[in-house]
């Protein structure tokens, strides 16, 4: 902090200190910026929409509950292990990773890293403004880009029990998409749109596509012994 304009003194007597009632600073509040845009009254416009949303979701879930029964199998039996034993769907991506990496990596380090990465996203000072990745300094970026892609590919090809295709294929697909604006001279249309994306966008996209791939494979395409199955032939385990 470089010399604040105002110092609010600390004191035990709350009636005397601070003495001034209000200090207006040149600080920008987000709500103030958009003051010129058309506005409506929260009551009834927003609150009515909220009420409708509540009714719609209640109705949708009620219909689901009327026509589809929640699963209930036989009573828990520690002596009888089902094959495969599957966790709930939102953990099946992790369980699928367990097939490639030991539990320490797939069950502790990777999910831990994901949570930490999610938390630090807004504090990650690099490119908070989300500038387009290829905007400037393309030569140096291309070098780092290919080192990163080849390095990650090597990690997921050779450090695991089997090549981690659910991570590798999205990685290569997204790397390919990132390369289009780097090699193309077009700056408009969809190429321009791709070129305007930030690095954070691409990394999150990879995380998203890879999570979906892992979860779908773990949920639908894995059967006894965690072998591949085809859901429409062998059924879903």
């Amino acid at each position: 902090m470089n010399n604040p304009k105002y110092l609010l003194e600390a004191d035990d007597d709350a009636r005397k200190s601070p003495v001034r009632l209000v200090v207006v600073q040149g600080e920008r509040r987000p709500a103030v910026d958009a003051a010129d845009e058309p506005q409506v009254m929260t009551w009834p416009h927003l609150m009515l929409r909220e009420a409708i949303a509540l009714v719609v979701i209640s109705l949708a879930l009620s219909l689901l509950a009327l026509f589809f029964d929640a699963p209930l199998e036989e009573i828990a039996n520690p002596q009888k292990t089902p094959n495969p034993a599957k966790a709930p769907w939102y953990f099946l991506g992790l369980q699928e990773l367990l097939h490639y990496y030991p539990p320490l990596i797939s069950g502790v380090i990777l999910p831990g890293l994901v949570i930490v990465a999610l938390i630090v996203i807004p504090y990650f000072n690099i490119n908070l403004k989300r500038e387009a990745f290829w905007r400037e300094d393309i030569k140096r970026k291309l070098l780092f880009f290919w080192i990163a892609v080849i390095g990650l590919s090597a990690v997921f090809l050779f450090t695991s029990a089997h090549p981690v295709w659910p991570l590798l294929i999205p990685l290569w697909a997204i790397a390919g998409m990132m390369m289009i604006p780097a090699v193309s001279s077009r700056r408009t249309g969809w190429v321009g749109w791709l070129g305007d994306r930030s690095l954070a966008f691409w990394i999150f996209l990879w995380f998203l596509v890879a999570s979906i791939a892992l979860t779908v494979i773990g949920t639908l395409f894995r059967g006894p012994g965690w072998q591949y199955t085809i859901p429409w032939i062998d059924g879903v385990y």
């Binding site: 949303a53 509950a65 036989e74 034993a85 939102y90």
Partner: protein
């Protein structure tokens, strides 16, 4: 145009809203003047959640798909159905499973109640994830909203924990082995893995103690936490200027 407020009740709605009891609760009638509409928010609890006026773009469905609101609505449905389910449930072995069978065949509308809670739980996990994805792609996590993003991540973790602790409660094969697979991962945590698992399960295996612990976590501790964090989360949305509407136009100048 200013409409005169009728002094004598004219419709059943007036009769309902123009009396001391109703006014003592919401302070305002269902008035159609903008002054009273703003006071309906301003003089009520709603000011904690909503500003008096909102930008038209912020309430458009395609802006947010109402994913955050729908997540909160699902949580509300889950709390209501969850409280009803608690009336029929004993967290002990094998009573827990018998209660499931009772819900299935004996309790009036029992299957509906359990189905609604089950599908609601899945829906909430999905909606919260979609909400996070939407917020990321909109770039709404950037200052001044960065801490609200962190609270959102906390809420996501709490949602998954709630869903996961609830997964064990039916005490069927699906529940038992689903939770066994998950808690076995705790073994892999270096140094404190075993003690962490022991703390979570009240033993070395998924058994009666684990059921009781998961029950208390699912019905008391985690719901309290999620409601608390959710309140702050929603309050901060308003304090940070409402729904993120894209980058401000770079006119500036009034700094």
């Amino acid at each position: 145009m200013i409409k005169p407020i009728p002094q004598t009740p004219q419709t059943w709605m007036d009769t309902l809203t123009q009396n001391r009891v109703f006014r003592s609760i919401v302070r305002r009638g269902l008035s159609d003047t903008n002054r009273n509409r703003s006071l309906a928010i301003f003089s009520n609890f709603f000011l904690h959640i909503h500003p008096v006026k909102v930008n038209v773009r912020a309430i458009r469905f395609t802006r947010t798909f109402y994913l955050g609101g729908l997540s909160a609505a699902t949580l509300f449905i889950l709390i209501v159905t969850g409280v009803f389910l608690m009336f029929y449930y004993h967290p002990s072995v094998p009573r827990a499973y018998d209660d499931m069978k009772d819900l299935q065949y004996v309790v009036y509308m029992g299957p509906f109640l359990r189905n609604l809670h089950r599908w609601g739980a899945h829906a909430m996990v999905a909606l919260v994830l979609l909400h996070m994805v939407r917020v990321f792609f909109a770039g709404a996590y950037r200052p001044p909203r960065e801490f609200n993003w962190v609270l959102g991540v906390v809420l996501l973790v709490l949602t998954i924990l709630l869903s996961y602790t609830g997964y064990l409660l039916p005490w069927d094969q699906l529940a038992f082995w689903g939770v066994t697979v998950g808690t076995n991962m705790a073994d892999a945590v270096p140094l404190m893995g075993e003690s962490m698992k022991f703390l979570l399960l009240g033993g070395t295996k998924v058994n009666e103690n684990a059921l009781l612990r998961f029950y208390v976590l699912h019905c008391v501790l985690l719901p309290l936490l999620i409601v608390l964090v959710l309140c702050v989360h929603i309050w901060r949305v308003r304090k940070d200027g409402g729904v993120y509407l894209g980058d401000e136009p770079a006119s500036g100048g009034e700094e």
